[in-house]
């Protein structure tokens, strides 16, 4: 059996890449190491997160309703495959003086002037995020040696930036590399509203709101869609899109290495079982470090690329905790996201602990209700170090769980007594189960020196790896992080473009 392309890793970016290649008429084989597709969005293994010897339904890492970038949903026509319209998800930011409810651009539960300030800030950031969104849907410009096409695209980007006008342009440059604390404090003052936005700007990474460069992730997130669909529905639609174009998915098929021919071209992959598949095009949705130093192997790489792959910042600080509940908490309506980050200082203080390898005294977190026979509260807590004081123990897991429940109990009084079971996936657990170095769910820190034409690092930022026919297509590549599908979309596009040139 021969294939036109092999995609390694059936996370959402792998599915998107496979579907786009399939759309272009390529026969695609999609290989997944785990028992099912979806990656972090996928169905968890039973007992995952229950600790040693425990049992439970398992913790889905990306349990929140999510949405792909419109370029992808429209490009793949996902509405034909049952994606549906999606739902807007309000955020309830808890504070000691009562909650603030946020929907796109409006805040309820705050003083009128704060609500007005928030509306203005939201509108301003959305406007500034506009030109950034242009960069997201395509291969980033090269650092040197730009071709005519690149230069034209850059000229149009420049034009889009110019259209912002002088005041906005100056504002963008002022805040682009600054920290989100200053931006929020200046614009909104402190409180649950600013805390929730600071939480969103830093979620998943190893930077606190006072770290420089934390405005950029917020702008990135604002450039996305303010809607969400259940992960199952999203993955289901992508699977249908792959199948509709003749793509074949094989799960439980971990890839051991990428095969490289004497002509320095990728020729296919070899599974851990020894089985080989051949294709002139291989896209890897795995973490860049694993793809380069693991599957491809350093013998095929220059020392500079190996060094960058080894040293790229990829220390995840988000833990996923599921609480099984006896009854649904009345204070949290279904379909609403709860954020417990009552002040900017609460987010920074949680980061301070993790920075030095300790567990945060008071984790900041988000939580959504997952309906079902046994209702669950799906919690994402940050900043949780990859390995507190060297490694995780039963005791440190217990401490984390106790502190998370304590924080939630404040926001949802009486919750503590309703908890009938807890399962926790630490960054370390996420690394082990999903093969993500550092347990970083963005496949690498989302910061200025690892974004755009530097994501994951120079020389491989345009998806193409030094070995011809081999591409990165995961969240480690531009625009990277979160659930957008854009890395997979762009990588497949670049691969097709290069293939066209070769023919």
């Amino acid at each position: 059996m021969s294939w036109d392309a092999i995609v390694v890793g059936a996370g959402h970016n792998g599915l998107v890449a496979a579907a786009r290649l399939g759309q272009a008429g390529r026969r695609v084989l999609l290989l997944e190491a785990l028992e099912g597709p979806g990656g972090l969005l996928g169905a968890p293994a039973a007992g995952q997160g229950a600790g040693s010897g425990g049992t439970g339904p398992g913790v889905r890492i990306a349990a929140q309703p999510t949405w792909l970038n419109p370029i992808v949903t429209m490009g793949l026509g996902l509405d034909r495959y049952g994606l549906g319209p999606g739902v807007a998800q309000p955020t309830r930011a808890w504070g000691p003086d009562g909650p603030v409810t946020l929907t796109a651009g409006s805040a309820l539960g705050v003083a009128p002037e704060t609500a007005a300030a928030y509306a203005a800030l939201h509108a301003r950031l959305r406007r500034l995020a506009g030109p950034l969104a242009r960069f997201m849907g395509r291969t980033p410009p090269p650092l040197n040696g730009a071709g005519a096409g690149d230069l034209l695209a850059l000229a149009l980007d420049g034009l889009a930036l110019r259209r912002l006008g002088r005041a906005d342009m100056r504002e963008l440059l002022r805040i682009l590399l600054s920290n989100v604390w200053d931006l929020l404090e200046d614009s909104l003052g402190d409180g649950p509203l600013a805390g929730a936005l600071a939480f969103d700007a830093t979620l998943g990474g190893a930077m606190g709101p006072r770290s420089p460069g934390t405005v950029l992730p917020l702008l990135y997130r604002l450039a996305g869609a303010p809607r969400g669909a259940d992960p199952e529905i999203l993955i289901g639609a992508l699977l249908k899109a792959v199948a509709a174009t003749g793509g074949v998915l094989r799960c439980g098929a971990p890839v051991a290495r990428i095969l490289v021919g004497d002509n320095d071209r990728a020729e296919g992959v070899q599974l851990e079982s020894g089985e080989e598949f051949r294709a002139p095009l291989v896209l890897s949705n795995l973490h860049p470090r694993r793809t380069l130093t693991g599957l491809l192997g350093v013998a095929h790489l220059d020392a500079e690329d190996v060094r960058r792959a080894r040293l790229m910042a990829t220390r995840g600080m988000a833990a996923r905790i599921d609480l099984r509940l006896a009854t649904l908490p009345e204070a949290l309506p279904a379909g609403t996201r709860l954020v417990v980050a009552p002040r900017l200082g609460a987010v920074e203080a949680a980061f301070d602990g993790a920075k030095y390898g300790g567990l945060p005294e008071r984790p900041v977190l988000e939580a959504v209700l997952v309906p079902g026979a046994v209702p669950r509260l799906a919690v994402t807590a940050t900043f949780v170090p990859h390995a507190p004081a060297g490694s995780w123990t039963g005791k440190s897991r217990g401490t984390l769980e106790t502190r998370v429940v304590a924080a939630l109990d404040e926001a949802l009084p009486g919750l503590r007594s309703e908890v009938t079971g807890i399962e926790t996936m630490t960054p370390d657990d996420i690394e082990a189960r999903y093969g993500l170095p550092g347990g970083h769910w963005h496949h690498g820190e989302f910061r200025t020196d690892q974004m755009l034409m530097l994501r994951p690092f120079a020389r491989v930022a345009r998806y193409r790896l030094p070995v011809a026919g081999l591409y990165l297509c995961g969240a480690g590549s531009h625009p990277g992080g979160d659930i957008t599908g854009l890395p997979g979309w762009n990588a497949a596009g670049q691969a097709l473009k290069d293939e066209g040139k070769r023919r």
């Binding site: 320095d264 013998a299 220059d302 020392a303 500079e304 190996v306 020389r459 030094p466």
Partner: protein
């Protein structure tokens, strides 16, 4: 793999293993810094020292050179990944001149690779390379050690050098062919001898524990008394190396690790070192970039030029038809042995191919007054001084 880090050195220039003897002979008190060591520039007069290289035997302390040991099951793979030559062809007991490149195909440094055993190499080079070696070796089963301070090294160069070594007790040294390595026992010390050097003449380099340095120096001086032996400084070596066509990093080209401005790094094709690049071996650092560069005409070339008359063309520009500036000189010398006025120069590609009507503008100061004069220049062979002594085995006895 944990590379050993050299201990912090004291402030200022430190004395090398031969320092006591060199200091006693250094009438000029001329010293320069070389990798933190006090290295002599001129001991007596540069003319005496230069002619000793070509007519007798000279001793020059090369201990400040960086020396790295690369050993382990993957040593061959790591060295082959580092350098552009096919090191699999280098047999144990042999030395090879080599360059290594970065991912862009620009030269990081040049040096000599000693294959001491099937799984043990020594790399000798000008620039510190421990960090680079560490990067290149990541993922391989090797140990990299910085032996720079642990090994004393002495260059013994000149037509009578073989006879001096024999007389000093290194029986059988005459059997060494160029680039051979052999170990000798002198008194209680092991001395490793390689037939290598930087002068383009008959010569050897001796490698030993620092404790053996002074005893060996005295032995050689004694054996060389009737064979024209002389301790020399860097200035004389510099003359010999220009005649011999050897390149010097920081003078003739910049390492890709030391330049700051873009476009200042140089690739092997520009340096005229194509013969060192084995594109047909498996992947090595910079191979993909070098493959692409090998298909292009280099933008400029480093060449040896010969210039009319006898005034060395230091820091001169090179012109085409006396008008268009097409290059510049990096090293210049009126060669006393071949009686030719030579220089090492960068020249832009079209005028390397054309080769005709090249001129250099020579600047000369006479009693605080500057003069300049255009002199005709021609591109000549890189190795202007090429003596049969360099290759003859056994070398002539004296």
């Amino acid at each position: 793999m944990t590379p050993a880090i050299r201990q912090p050195e004291p402030l200022g220039l430190v004395p090398g293993p031969f320092h006591d003897r060199i200091a006693a002979l250094n009438r000029q008190q001329g010293w320069t810094g070389w990798m933190g060591h006090a290295s002599p520039t001129v001991l007596d007069t540069v003319e005496f020292e230069y002619f000793a290289i070509r007519n007798g035997t000279t001793l020059f302390d090369i201990s400040p050179m960086n020396k790295y040991r690369i050993a382990g099951p993957d040593a061959e793979a790591v060295v082959n990944r580092l350098v552009t030559r096919d090191i699999r062809k280098l047999k144990p007991g042999r030395v090879a001149y080599a360059i290594w490149c970065n991912a862009e195909g620009n030269v990081v440094d040049d040096g000599t690779v000693f294959r001491l055993a099937p799984n043990e190499f020594r790399l000798c080079c000008q620039e510190p390379q421990l960090g680079w070696l560490d990067d290149v070796a990541w993922g391989y089963d090797v140990t990299i050690t910085d032996d720079s301070a642990a090994i004393a090294a002495l260059a013994v160069q000149g037509p009578t050098s073989c006879a001096v070594l024999k007389a000093a007790g290194l029986a059988g040294v005459e059997e060494l062919k160029p680039f051979d390595i052999r170990s000798f026992r002198v008194e209680t010390h092991d001395i490793m001898v390689s037939r290598t050097g930087f002068t383009g003449d008959l010569g050897y380099e001796l490698w030993m524990a620092p404790g053996a340095a002074l005893g060996l120096w005295d032995r050689l001086m004694e054996a060389g008394r009737v064979r024209g032996i002389r301790a020399i400084g860097y200035a004389a070596v510099e003359m010999a190396r220009i005649e011999a066509g050897f390149l010097l990093p920081r003078v003739d080209f910049l390492s890709s690790q030391t330049h700051l401005r873009p476009g200042r790094a140089r690739n092997p094709y520009e340096l005229g070192l194509d013969w060192l690049v084995a594109l047909d071996k498996p992947h090595f650092n910079g191979r993909r970039a070098l493959l692409a560069l090998s298909r292009q005409r280099p933008a400029r070339r480093l060449v040896t030029i010969e210039i009319d008359r006898d005034k060395p063309a230091h820091h001169a520009f090179v012109y085409h038809r006396k008008r268009r500036e097409v290059g510049f000189v990096t090293s210049a010398l009126w060669s006393p042995t071949v009686k030719r006025n030579i220089a090492c120069a960068w020249i832009e590609a079209p005028w390397v191919q054309d080769g005709g009507d090249l001129w250099v503008e020579i600047y000369r100061q006479r009693e605080l007054t500057w003069n300049r004069r255009m002199a005709r220049a021609r591109i000549v062979e890189r190795r202007v001084f090429d003596s049969a002594r360099r290759r003859a085995t056994p070398p002539a006895d004296f």
